[in-house]
Amino acid sequence: MTDDIAYATIRELGTRYRKREISPVEVTKALLARIEKLDPILHAFVTLTADRALDDARAAEAALRGGDERPLLGIPVGHKDIYMTRGIRTTGGSALFAEWIPDVESTVVRRWQEAGTVLLGKLITHEFAFGIQFPGHRFPAARNPWNLDHIPGGSSSGSGAALAAGLVTGATGSDTGGSIRGPAAFCGIAGIKPTYGRVSRAGVMTLSWTLDHTGPMARTVEDCAYLLQAMAGHDAADPASSTMPVGDYLTPLRRGVGGLKIGVPRNYFFEGVDAEIQRAFEESMDTLRQLGAEVRDVRIPSLQAAHSFLLILVAEAFAYHERDLRERPELYGDVARERLLSGALVTASEYTQAQRIRSEICRETAEVLRGVDVLATPTTPKPATPFTVAYDTEIGFPRSNMAPFNLTGLPTLALPCGVSASGLPLSLQLSGRPFEEATVLRAGHAYEQATAWHTRRPPV
C-alpha cells in the first residue's frame, strides 16, 4: 500500500470515495495488511476487529452508493481501550479486565459508529490510563514509530503510535493530565482535549472524575475538527455533560488568525524546556504573527502550584479503584499499582487545599483569557522519553505543561511545530476559553497550513 492511502486525511478519503477512485473496503483491507506488518513492532493494537471493520466498510460502501454525505463515512478509526465497546473486549490495558467483554457501548463509540466510521480495533492504553506497562506486563507497551526506543507518550499510547504509523485515520483518546496531548506531541500528530463537559465520558473507564476529558486524535487539525464534530454534544449519561449547543468546528477553520490575540504565559511553562523546543516555539509564534495574529506575553502566577493536580488525580483514582486495589492488588501492573495506592495517602485537608489551588488557577486563567483569545505554550518541555527513563522509578512523576488545562477544563490542542536534533517531533499547545474549541482549532489550522511539520512521516 502506498503512503497516500495510509496517511490520507478524512477530507481526502471522502473525496476519493465519492469520485469512486477507491472504496472503503479497499482502504480497510490495505490498513489491515499494514497493521499486520507493523503492529508486531509497535504494539499499538490490543484487539484487532478485522471482521467488524470489513462489515463496517461494506456498509459504508453501500451508503456511499446511495449518496450519503456524512463526512466520516468509511473513515477507519480505533478506540482507546478504556472506551467500552459492546461485544468487543475492553481491557483498560490491565490484566484485571484482560478478557472483559462489555455489554454496553460508550456514547462516543456509538456516535462515531452512527457517523459511519470503520472500527479497526482497540488501541492499547497505559494501564487504566495512568501507568505505563513495565516489562513483564500482560500487555506490552506501545512503541514510538519515530524511534522504537522511545515511548509514544501516554496514556493514549496506542492511539498516538497507530496514527503516526498510518494504521488508522482517527482515534479516540482521553486526557486527565495530558493523555491526548502528550502522545500527540511525542508522535508528531494532533489531538484536542475539549472543554470539560463538551464530550461525553459515559462508558469510558474513569481515572479522575474532575480531571478526565475525552477527545479525538488525528494527523491534522482539520481531521480533529471532523472527529470532534461527531463526538461533541450533550449526553444525559454523563453528569458533567454540558447542554451548551455544539458549534460548527469546520467552517471557522478557513478564517485564519488575522486579529486573533495570542497570550504566551511566560512563567511555569518554560521552566526546564529544552533549547530546541524553546526555539521551535518562538518560531511558531513568529509564524502566527506573520499570519496576522497579535502575540504578547502574559502571566498566570498561581500556576507555580499546578503540580498539586497530582494530589487530586491520585486521590480520586484511588477512590475509584479502592476495592480492587485492596482485594486483588496482584492483578495491577507493577508501579501502576503503587502509583494508584499513593492516593490512599492523601489527607482530606491536602485534597481540599489542592482543589482551592485549582480554583485560584481557574480564576487567574479566566482573567488572562479576558485579554487574549488563545494561550500558546510548548506542549511538553522535552521530546519523547526513552523507555530507559520511563522505566526509572526514581525520576518521579514529571511536572506537566498540560495538566493546568485539566485543572481549568479549557479546550486545548496539541500539534506538531518542529523536530529535534535526534529526529523526534516537537509540539505546540494552544488553549482557549470554555467551549471555544472552534477558535483553538482555527489557530492551529492556520499554523498547520503555513508549515509542513504535519506532513513528516516516521521511518517505520
Partner: protein, 74 residues
Amino acid sequence: MADPQGPTPQELTMDELRERIRATGITIAENRLAMVRKLLADALAPVRALDSRTIRSVEPAVRFAPDTEGNARD
C-alpha cells in the same frame, strides 16, 4: 498563595509515609516506597508551601445558572 521567599516547605519523610500507610491499612512493597514518597512529596510541595489564610476564605459548593432550557444547573 505560596510565598517564594518563605522557608522551604517541610519534606514528606519516609517515617511520615510509613505512618500514613499504616493508618490507611494498605500495603506498598518496600522497594516502591521511595517512588511513592517522591511522587507524593513533589505533589504536596505546593500545598505545604500554601498559606491557606492568604487565599479566599469563601469557597463555592454549588452554583446555579439558568441554562437555555430554563432549568437550574450547576
